[in-house]
Amino acid sequence: MVSDLQLRRENRVVIAHIYTATAAIALGAIFGVFQGFARADTIVAPSWFDYYRILTMHGVLMALVFTTFFITGLSLFVTYRSIPRERRLAVGWFGWGLMLVGTALAAVTIISGNATVLYTFYAPMKASPWFYIGATLLVLGTWVVAFEIFENINYFRKNNPGAPIPLVVFCAGATFVMWIVATLGVVAEMCLLIPWAFGWTHGINVLLTRMFFWYFGHPLVYFWIMGAYIIWYNIIPTRYGGNVFSDGLTRLAFIMLILLSTPVGIHHEFMEPGISTTWKMLHTLTTYGVAIPSFITAFAIFASFELAAIARGRRGFIATVRGLPWNDPTFSSAALGMILFILGGFGGLVNASYSMDTVIHNTVWIVGHFHVTVGGPVALTFLGAAYWMIPRLTGRALWKPHVALFQTRMWFFGMLIMSFSMHYAGLLGAPRRTAEVGYLGATTANVWQPYMLLAAAGGFFLFVSILTFVAVALGTLFQNAKTESMDVAFATPAQPATETPLMLQRLYRWGVVALALAILAYAGPLGELLRNPGYLAPGMRTW
């Protein structure tokens, strides 16, 4: 066991990560609600209001900052608590510091109007080099955190020869193995963008930067989902007294996510010139493959619910659902998130379907889709997990749990309204990433305007929900009495881990296989492009 002092020192690192994430989502929500109303033409924008600058902030804060800091914090937390030892925390702090400096640098360039390029920073729009440097530092900071996690895994393996890594640490480790493979793409892109933004190189291959970006961009999505899966598998069952359904299948799901998250990125480039249909078809195939670990997860979750109910002598669907702790903010966040994820999965199948993507590519359907996936299941699960972690990090009881419960439900309904309207408006043809979608009263546009208003109303619910979360998170910090135990127990498997085949206990070698698969999947399109690279763009500032 570790000393109390040591525990507190570790907790402080995790608290720093989690509250940085909280700050990001709070700011992001303020921008988000503005976007909703601006798009619905309901606010007369003041002259200083720059829709795209705000949208850049929203995308960066939500997609890159909130999610990343939460996952690094969560992963450090599960690692520290599962592998007790005397440890120095310099690396943990250094990772956080690097991520924070990177974020601050990027934020300053955006706010000053020198990087209004949205979170995808597509060339040849050319932002301040410091924006790209900031984003790179954010990524490098996550590598430092990954190093910290791997170092602890190695320590565990050395001191427990032959024993499987604790399941929750395996899941966190797998998430970061996948992340390292994935972020190689964006770092490669930055190696092109940074010298170009400084003016040291005179042109950039636009298609190449897009290919590198989406090599990273899709697994970024799976990074978020793996973060949520860590919680669904290892923390949620403890809320209803259940178990992990199967140790081996959980590891299998995470290994499949390591392997299949990356070789799929071209599905974001279906509508582009310069990439043959052969490669687009190949990536459709692999994209379908990455649904399989989610099937495993869906089964495992429902099976775990049911086994827990049976253990309490309840049988049948209704009894199982009724017996779940719906009034527990942590459980209900995750469970409502799962319901949203089912909707998100259907939409994802459409997006991934090669030619069907023509109907909805770059319409607000896509915005509806990722809010009902990352904004729904992932963010909601994270907030629910924060309600569980914060008392265990601070020793303070959660401030007003019933308010937390209200927050969760508000989010669910807000998200249903916003994402339904966005999906529908997208089918009617409303574009995404656009400040106003009225097109001078064109009849085509009139059809979708009411849905933009409905989406704005849903967004307002979400905004209130996020503010409520921030109130609970901060309120807990300012509770005086330390009444809570800081002990943590993760869910244990119903089948013991010793039965798990050795192959499913490996981590790094699956990372190597994943890299090989990614190279295979990109060799075709990349080779095609490099044989015929074409025009090099000098870059320009169009904002």
């Binding site: 795209y52 040849p124 010139p273 310069g274 459709t284 195939l285 379908y288 099976a303 169009t542």
Partner: protein, 155 residues
């Protein structure tokens, strides 16, 4: 490692569904030739004014009765800004960008593609319904992006 019988059924069902969907996509692609746009032709964006047919963007009628429409996307316009085609015509659109990345999207049709500097992208649609269509840039391209649209009249 023990895998529960129900789990085997579930996974078989799931994977079978994926295979069915993939077969449908494959059938549409190979039998009906429904593919996403994938123009592989290159062009120099700085010499568009000297490069036919982009030196004179607009509509051409082909001998077989179908049409070709050439478009240049630039911040924050489409050239041509208006186009008029008879109802029932099949139009193949060709688009390239003179500067940054743009979108090329006509709601209620099969036309949805990216315009990337250096490349020509292409897609076809048969206009069976008459009316006024909007051509929208649906990729953020800068401060005036929301003003970037054109009109197509089908009569």
């Amino acid at each position: 490692m023990h895998i529960h019988r129900y789990e085997r059924w579930w996974m078989t069902f799931g994977i079978a569904m994926l295979v069915v969907f993939l077969l449908m996509i494959g059938f549409a692609a190979f039998a009906d030739n429904i593919n996403p746009p994938s123009g592989l032709q290159q062009v120099d964006p700085q010499k568009l004014s000297q490069t036919p047919p982009f030196d004179k963007p607009g509509l051409r009628k082909l001998p077989n009765g179908t049409y070709e429409a050439y478009y240049v996307a630039e911040v924050f316009n489409f050239i041509p800004a208006t186009l008029s085609v008879p109802v029932g015509s099949k139009v193949t659109f060709y688009v390239t960008s003179a500067d940054v990345v743009h979108g090329f999207f006509i709601p209620r049709t099969d036309i949805n593609m990216m315009a990337i500097p250096g490349w020509v992208n292409t897609q076809s649609h048969t206009f069976t319904r008459s009316g006024d269509y909007l051509l929208i840039c649906h990729e953020y391209c800068g401060i005036g992006h929301q003003n970037m649209f054109a009109r197509i009249a089908v009569h």
